[in-house]
Every structure is written in structure tokens, then in C-alpha cells.
Subunit: 456 residues, 2 copies
Amino acid sequence: MEELQDNIQFQLTDELIEKVEVLVEDQNDKELKLLLHEYHYADIAEVLDELDHDDAVYVIKLLDSGLTSDILMELDEDNREKILKNLSAKEIAEEVEELDTDDAADIIAELPEERQEAVISQIEDEEHKAEIQELLAYDDNTAGSLMAKELVKVYETWTVAGCLRRIRGQAKEVTRVHSIYVVDKEEKLIGRLSLKDLIVAKSDQKIADIAKDNVDFVHVNDDDEDVAKVMAKYDLEAIPVVDDNQTLLGRITIDDIVDVLKEEAEKDYQLAAGLTGDVEADDSIIELTRARLPWLFLGLIGGVGAFIIMEGFQEAFSQYAVLFFFTPLIAAMAGNVGVQSSAIIVQGLANDDVKGSVNNRLIKEMLLAALNGVILAVFLLLFIWIYIGELDKAIAISVSLVAVIIIAGLIGTFVPLFLDKRGIDPAIATGPFITTSNDILGILLYFWIAKLILGI
Amino acid sequence: MEELQDNIQFQLTDELIEKVEVLVEDQNDKELKLLLHEYHYADIAEVLDELDHDDAVYVIKLLDSGLTSDILMELDEDNREKILKNLSAKEIAEEVEELDTDDAADIIAELPEERQEAVISQIEDEEHKAEIQELLAYDDNTAGSLMAKELVKVYETWTVAGCLRRIRGQAKEVTRVHSIYVVDKEEKLIGRLSLKDLIVAKSDQKIADIAKDNVDFVHVNDDDEDVAKVMAKYDLEAIPVVDDNQTLLGRITIDDIVDVLKEEAEKDYQLAAGLTGDVEADDSIIELTRARLPWLFLGLIGGVGAFIIMEGFQEAFSQYAVLFFFTPLIAAMAGNVGVQSSAIIVQGLANDDVKGSVNNRLIKEMLLAALNGVILAVFLLLFIWIYIGELDKAIAISVSLVAVIIIAGLIGTFVPLFLDKRGIDPAIATGPFITTSNDILGILLYFWIAKLILGI
């Protein structure tokens, strides 16, 4: 049992980090290798992410590229960038030789323009080099930018026996064989089969006879998020990628899709929280400020807007100072309702389950907001009436609250739907954007209606 | 090429839905089968989700269980529930017979207690029944509740040839063979190999010689989110599940993990937006009210708190009405900063990349908030000074803003860290919770400091 250890039990400890730092300090290469070889490359990457990057570079240069290439892929992007800066084009090329084409292309794409050529020219395996250059040519966020060239391909005319013999060669360079793709002599994708089918089949059967022709595939220019949705929806663990002529170009595996899904979810979450760009807790104060300040400015402008509105109503409400004390409540409710309704729409759009017309959505949201608004308004009315004892003000404030909540709900529903129709990411409509606009509008509406009701 | 169609091109059209509705109306079973058999079960599920559920039940009863069992798994949970209500225990058992044990157990678990027994008793395949009962016994959100019993298992003593012969049998009932798990005669997991390894190996080699002994695995009681993290981190597409004795119990495949990751991300997103429970845009107004109202109540209470505070300062600030006009600004900034800082912590905790001590976090956040606060305060100061022309008020308001932003940032950072340490989901600390508490505290702080500076 010794060599079996539950991966969930790996914990990044300060002891381990220190141990590595000391060994690097002492340049005790032998011990360092012994220690690190006990760990999975993803765990070693976590350790290196914690070292200052001279030490990390030392470790990368020490271990053999078979291992370090995998470690590099697992590092935080900023750390990887720092480390690659300290490696020669030749050293990077050696790492790249060890990687699948998709990872290789990703790493090279992260390098500054001028270094990319230098690294590529150092790649010895000509086929590998050509494939990487092909992948680098595809646009970001397309199936082409996600796919790998490594796959197992057989011709329809082969027999099971001949096939098994031949794919032994191909399979060696493919980390995981999900599907075997069947092509005709023009390299066009015409079907697929699994290793399982091959093993279960009789050895003299023709591939054409046992191949499944209902093969799923995507086009090289399809959007990567669409590819992710399709693979998740159809429970696919790999999907082949073709061009306009149905020619098999590569395949996308689900582990890449997991990353796409995670990134997309994190992006939406951050936008909802008022953070631009992909920031992490460990980023520098400058990076974090860059992500946070723009939204705070928006909030500042909104607040100034609210001030101007309230000042405008100062005269009219000189006898009704109490109304001003409820503006934070009005603003908060308008903001909360707006975020709730927009978040539901944004998530629905992301999952493709927002159906029916925009009007139906708005009518539904109006009913929903009205229901919530009335319930809340009743409590507010009772509180004000009892607390201040002036029914007219209580009614004015409560009725305005209902109106504000309804409008806030409608805006929160409409804006993301509108942005989505315009091809803009609806996620930007959540968070500070919606709260700020709802704050101003809510307060304005509040005073208007109160004025009306109180007959000022 | 005809039979190949790009799945990304499937669009759920009203035409298709109507076509199905008409065919159901006319009870035109033949046409209906012909039409639906053109589509993937996941697509058919999308259609059924749009039908009213009598029609959906009709379709389910029409198609054969081999197909409908897959369709059922893809339906929205509420729709599936409605449909299962209309199927007899025998009919549900037939569907269950077609499903892998993990899906089968999930479906049965969704049934009301009393029906579960009835359905299980109707399952004919005794082994399948026993396995499902075993899975039903594991707690929710554990590896046991995620795993399937279907896997390919070989004994270390077998030869490659004998192994290939024997797994032909096992493989038939396993949809996807990710790994072949090697066990000793006590059924203990001692290694793994891939079909690829088996095919590449010589037929007279012993399994023990070609098996990899560095097999990853999880314990049956491990938390499902931890399993998801591990599989994503180590890029695993399947992981075996063992008990305390290292006995191989089942395996978890990555498609289940994709669901876990998506659900987790959606839950955090909804909490940040002030939504409880897993609601969708298409849920009923009642369901949506249940999800939204509690948070709005929180907001209402916060607003009332703000009112009471402002009323308390009314006397003192009778000459400074203008200060009250900035309370929405103060509240908004306190809320935004709180959400930003808490969101970064929540996401960091979810990705296990919040390292270092709590104190360091707080110090960093304080510096960050101070930097942002000062920048914003300068603009506010200039605006008020120019607009109102009273420097003392401008200073009082701006300085308070900085203090409010710092406190808001600290609360937003501390609360989720604190909840996490206490084993409470930190995600509840984002959204309305943090904005509401920050609103009140912010406004209180604002008046205190203004009072101090203005020497009232």
C-alpha cells in the first residue's frame, strides 16, 4: 500500500516550502531531486508558485524537461512568465518538445513576439514544430486554439487487426486515447470508434463495418465557449475538430473544457462583484486597484448624481426631512433587486435556458417585483407609521418603494437581455453597473412619487 | 457526409416544438418516432422541457427505455420529477435498468421515500439492484454519492492476453473505459493501466509487470467538491474510489465532476447576487420570491437602520443638511468595496490559492482600500469644494469616505475568512449580506467622523 497515497491528502505546508528553499540555498541537487520526485507535478507547481522566482528557476533548470514541462503548465501564469524570462530559447524549446501541441502552442503564445520565433526555430522535431505553428495561427477563443494535433486516426479500409497493429505506433504519442477517428482517403472525418470497440471486435472485421458514423465534431472556427457547452451537454470527453472540407484537423479533450468553464464562471462572478480583468487574491495592490477602481468611480459618480437629485428636492421637502433618511434604503433595495434579476438572466443566458420573448420576461419580472415590493412595503409602512406616527409619509415612502422595486427589476431584466442581443457580454450588466444606475433612478423616482402623493 | 452534423448547430426552434406537439396531439406515433430518432437524447430533453408535461409523458412512454432513460437524465429536475410522478414503479424500474448505477441511484434518490422501495423492488437485474442500493446508502456530497459501480477490473496475476479476453466481457457494460484498475486477490486497489498500455504490451506479460502503481484514488467519504478539485488539478478523467481497507468500490468520471464544478460556481454566483437556493429564470414567481425575498428583507432592515442613524444625527447636523445628501454615495461605496474584497477572498478560497496569514491579508487590504479611497476622495473633495464652495464640509465628507472604504474593505476581507475558518460557506458573506452591514456601518462612521472634523 505504501506507494498509494490519497491525493486529497496533499497539503501545501510551509515546512515543505522551507525544506525546498533550504535545499536550493545549499544547492543540494541530489536531495532536492529525491524530495521533489515524490510529488505530482501539479503539487510541485504549487510549491514553485510559493518560491521567489530565482529559486523556482533553479528548480526548473535542475529537474529534467519531461517533468518540468508539465510543472510549467500548472504554474500561475505570471509566475510562468517570470520563469520563462530566465530560460534561453533553447531551454524553452526543450520544454516545448515534451508537451502536447496544444500546451506547447499555449506556452509559446504567452511569450513576447520576438522570442516566439527564436523558440520555434529551436524545436528539433520538424513535425511537432509545424503542428505548433499551425495551432498558433488560429484565433484565440476558437476551437482551433483549444485543440491538440495528437490523436489516433485510422482509415475506413483497414481491418481491426491491421488497425490494432498500426495504432500501437500512434497511441504511444497520445497521452489519452478517447476515441479513434475514422477517415476516408481524403482525410475526411467519417466516423469514430473506441479502443473498446476495437478490442471487442473480431480481428478480420473492416473498420468501416464497426465504426460509428454518428460522430460529434466541431468546426475549427467555432467559439470555445460553445464547444465547452456542447461537450458538457453531450457528455463528451473528446471531440474532433474539422475544417470546411470536413478534414480532420485535431481534437479537443474535456480537461481543456473544464478550464474554459471555470474561467467563464470566474469572469462572470468577478464582473458581478465589480472587478475587471482576471485578478486573484495574491495579485499586487496595483493590479487589484486597476481591477477595482473603475467600478468604484462608477459608484462615486452615481453617488454624486444622488446628491444632486436630493439637493434638487431640498426646497420642496424642507418640511419632510425624514424622507431623506430613507434614501439609503431606497437605493439599497433598488440595487439589490436589480442585481438579483440581472444575475438570474445572465446565468440563464449562460446556460441557454432563457427562452420565450423579452416581453414575457419583463411581464413576469414586473409581477415578481410587484409581489416582493408590496410585501416589503407593508412592513415598511407599519414601521414608519408606528415609529413616526405620520400615515401620509408612511404611505408616500412605501408606495414609492414598490414603484422603485418594480422599475429596478425591469431594468435588471432588460439590460442584460438587450446587451446579449447586441452581442455584448451581459455579465457586465450585473454588479456595480446595475446598482449604480438603479440607485440614481430609484432615488429620483422615490422623490417624484412622494411629491405626488404628499401633494407638494 | 450527410449523417454528420455539427452539434453546435442544433437550435431549439419553436417550429420543432410545435411539430412535436402536433404529432403528440394526433397521436402519430410513427412520425413522432421517426422525427425524434434524428436527434441526440440531450436535444430531445430540451424539447421535452418545453412541452407541457402530459405531452412529455406521452413521448417518454412512446420511445423505448434505452433512449428515454438518457433523456430523463438530461431533463430539468422539476420536469423530471413531474414526469416520474406519471410513471408506474415498473416503468421507472425499466428506465433505471438502462442507466449506469450512479445515474440510476440519482433518479431513485429524487423519488419520494415511499416510491423508492417500490421501484427498487421492480428492478430485475439483482446485481444492478444491489449496487444501486449500495450507492443510495452513501451521504450526499461524498465521493460515494458520485461514483458508479461500472468499471473494468483485472487481477495482478492475469496475463495481458487473458486480461484482454476477460475484459471483453466487463467492457461491454462500461460506457467508457478510462482506466483498467488492478486489484490483488483481496480486491484491494494496487494499480492501474490503460487499454492503450494493454494493447501496446506483449500478450504474455503479467499485469503486475505493466501496471502503474502510482494510481490516484479518493476515499468513499471524501467531499465531492474536493474530489472535483483533485480531478481538475491532476487532469484526471476518472478516479477510483476505495474504502478504509483500500478495497476498490467504484469510480468517478469527469463528466460528473463538470456538473459539480458548474453547480458550485452557480451557487456562489447566486449567493453573491442575493439569491438563495438554486433558482432559474424559468422557475415560478413563488420559487423566485422565496429565493429573493429573504435578502431583500435584509436590505430593508439595513435601510431602516440607516434611517435610525441619520435621524439620530438630525439635531447635530441641522445646519449641515448637505451631509445627508451624500449618504447614498457613502453607502454605495461601502457596499461596492465590501463586495469586491469579499468576492476576491471567496474565489481565492474556492481555488485554494488564499495563502499566508489572515493578518497579512488584512494589512494588504487596508493598504489597497486606502489607496483607492484616497484617489476617490480627492475627486470628491474637488467636486464638493467647487460645487458647494465650503472646504470644511468637503474635507469632512472626503476624509470620512476614505475611512469608510478602508473599514468596508477590511470587513469584506475578514468576514469570509472568518466564516471559512468556522467551516461555513464564505460565499454567503458576499452580496447583500456584506453590502447591508457595510451600508449601516459606513453611514454611522461617516457621521461620526464628519462630526469630529466639523467640531459639532
